[in-house]
Subunit: 454 residues, 2 copies
Amino acid sequence: MQRDRNEILAESIKRLLRRGATKSLQKIIRKTRAADLSLVFRELSRDNRLKMFNLMGDPEEQGLLFSELEEPIFLDLIGQLKLDEIVEIFENMAADDVAELLGYLDEKLADTILEKMKNEDSLEVEHLMSYGEDTAGSIMVPDFIALKEDMGARDVIAALQNDYLDVEMPFYVYVVDEYGKLVGVSSLRQLVVVHPEKPLKDFMIRDIVSVNTYTDCEKVAELVARYDFLAVPVVDDDNRLVGIVTVDDVIDIISEEATGDILKMAGVGEDYVETQTIFRGTRIRLPWLFTSCLGGLVASLIISGFHESLSKFAYLAVYIPVITGMGGNIGIQSSTVVVRGIATGKINAKDLWAVVAKEISIGLILGVIYGLLIGAVAKIRYMEEPLSLKFAFAVSLAVVVSMSVAALMGSLVPMLFQKVNIDPAVATGPFVTTSVDVVSVFSYLTIATLFLGF
Amino acid sequence: MQRDRNEILAESIKRLLRRGATKSLQKIIRKTRAADLSLVFRELSRDNRLKMFNLMGDPEEQGLLFSELEEPIFLDLIGQLKLDEIVEIFENMAADDVAELLGYLDEKLADTILEKMKNEDSLEVEHLMSYGEDTAGSIMVPDFIALKEDMGARDVIAALQNDYLDVEMPFYVYVVDEYGKLVGVSSLRQLVVVHPEKPLKDFMIRDIVSVNTYTDCEKVAELVARYDFLAVPVVDDDNRLVGIVTVDDVIDIISEEATGDILKMAGVGEDYVETQTIFRGTRIRLPWLFTSCLGGLVASLIISGFHESLSKFAYLAVYIPVITGMGGNIGIQSSTVVVRGIATGKINAKDLWAVVAKEISIGLILGVIYGLLIGAVAKIRYMEEPLSLKFAFAVSLAVVVSMSVAALMGSLVPMLFQKVNIDPAVATGPFVTTSVDVVSVFSYLTIATLFLGF
């Protein structure tokens, strides 16, 4: 439904652009949310994007659009604008959005823009940029309500109506002491139910969940998700309230985290964005395939080491793909379950052996089931050959070994990486499948050689 | 930080349970949020969970914990409770939570519980359960504020303070006409800035984004994420406001959707939950591996079809794993980029050919690079053999073909599934890697046979 609506919108905008119907376009722009406009921009040509952008006129609206655009489109658009225009738009944006966008630009341009911005605006941005990437400090907004604990409920409500009108989302009233330290929190709901004279300190919640400026974004998202908060307060090392992270940013973090995990596990690198050029796409994906290439070459070395067995018994080669395939697939299953379990908090690094033991058990059971099946097929297929029973048995056993070892590696590798604080998602993907290939080939050929008595 | 806090909490609760320190336990329970308590429950034995649960006493608190517990723990706990206890707890819970939990129970027990519940409570639950799974109707809450458009701002604020105190999160004031149809929306912020006598119809927003009771949850989540809403109104076919979906539920949807996609792509099935038993884990994963098994057996059939080439040229087998491996890995890359692109809205099903063409190009370039590399290794390795140059060339070409075809299939398959409305994540995982294996083996052996002139 919504997608259709935006497609219709894109079509009419394109038609109006062709006709040069400036007035109608401006009317549409005024009525359309920045989030929708950014989707339309995806469909427009370079020139038309610039035309539309200039038609918007109002730097505040342009700023809202800036923060909704996808990175490549934003970069392309900004390349077509004059420096003064950019500076004016940035001055009309929220500091956290400016900080994020400046991170996309090259450093020199970012510095030039900051220098040209009004001091009061650029200072706030530079302050945010001084926090490490992916920390609560870098995404917090100063848009919060902080009042003293002696204030009565009625005065608090009056303050909200008078002094805090520019606060976007006034869900929580934070309570600070004389040094600005966070001591409590109250909600709008509580404010209206208590006696109007009652001071905050008598009904505020003192058991506050807060994060530090350097807390990792994913940790912040986890807390907001767990407690169903609409915002979480950010404090500095002295417990002074310096900002809040709101739920809308948390949604973005969760979605980006999941996408990043998926891409890392597929060996694409977490920063892979679909709208990239073929060249950049190739460059990002190239190194990830190198593991796979190296592992494949090692597997080929192993096979050539069994040259004698292979020439005596040529149909040994026939079952290589099914054995590596079964191992590879169960390895992906195990590593995915573990990586995602760690990410969602369902698996704890300290349960290492319990998790690994369970995966091995599953690998073993599935290995026996599929080993018997594949072995039976092999026996029937090569019924007339001498040694066919021994061969079938070797295939079965190789499937069992390959699948159990794959389940072991698929679970152990990410658990160990988590223990030493390396992102388990990166560790997994190509690394696990490739090592499983090597192990599978080696164990298959060794088992077969032993059984067939070469 | 937070994890440590909960670990410490779990440790002290375990200690107190051993000592039977009822009073201290009750004090801790009162002070702890249900979300944290549910994490502690994970660490406790069956008996201790029941003990803790009984110590809670208050059915409202027990209900909050119910909705936080993981499914297996919830099921286990409820199996230890008496029917009357369960009914009383459910009567004290929000209808949407009850509806969700009843979905976990077997139908007979769920029906018995519904029959025993007070009519007013069970009717609401049954109403919610009548909406299809994963629709807005099934997760909406009736916890909204709906007022008439003639009401003035001051009266609205008074109504909020008097009539709507039980509304959990009063962010938006929805405006309905005399038939209950949704006609506008206003925010708390707007209410306090306009003149107190101004009626809602003069300042409400009329361009409302709403969803239908049967709108898919993921669609709802997409809208909330795009527009940074705190809640989205749900209407029936006559545009009557019947509920809202709040941002905290949207966070869960986004997280579950991502996990589901990851698990489906890994061939584990979207409902795989880590805390399952080995038996259930095996049963869920078994059928997904069947594709892989079948594909592997097809590959083995193909190889045995080239029996003659293989016995003449035994080292042909040596490069099978590296070629299937390279194809498999780039296939996973392409399918992941496309599946995740579709899920996050960055890829549109109508751009099918553009997306596939781009993936093929990347596959071709990477294929040439790695083809040359692997071919060179093959040439050096078999320098002394006759035909080694031809062989190396065949290996190179096979890598190029395998990687290009893998990129084609990895992108085309999910795009086509999306077009015919089948979940692309399910289609991808084992299906793509397995078919890539088959294609790789076939093209490699065909090319080699042609080049080496058998």
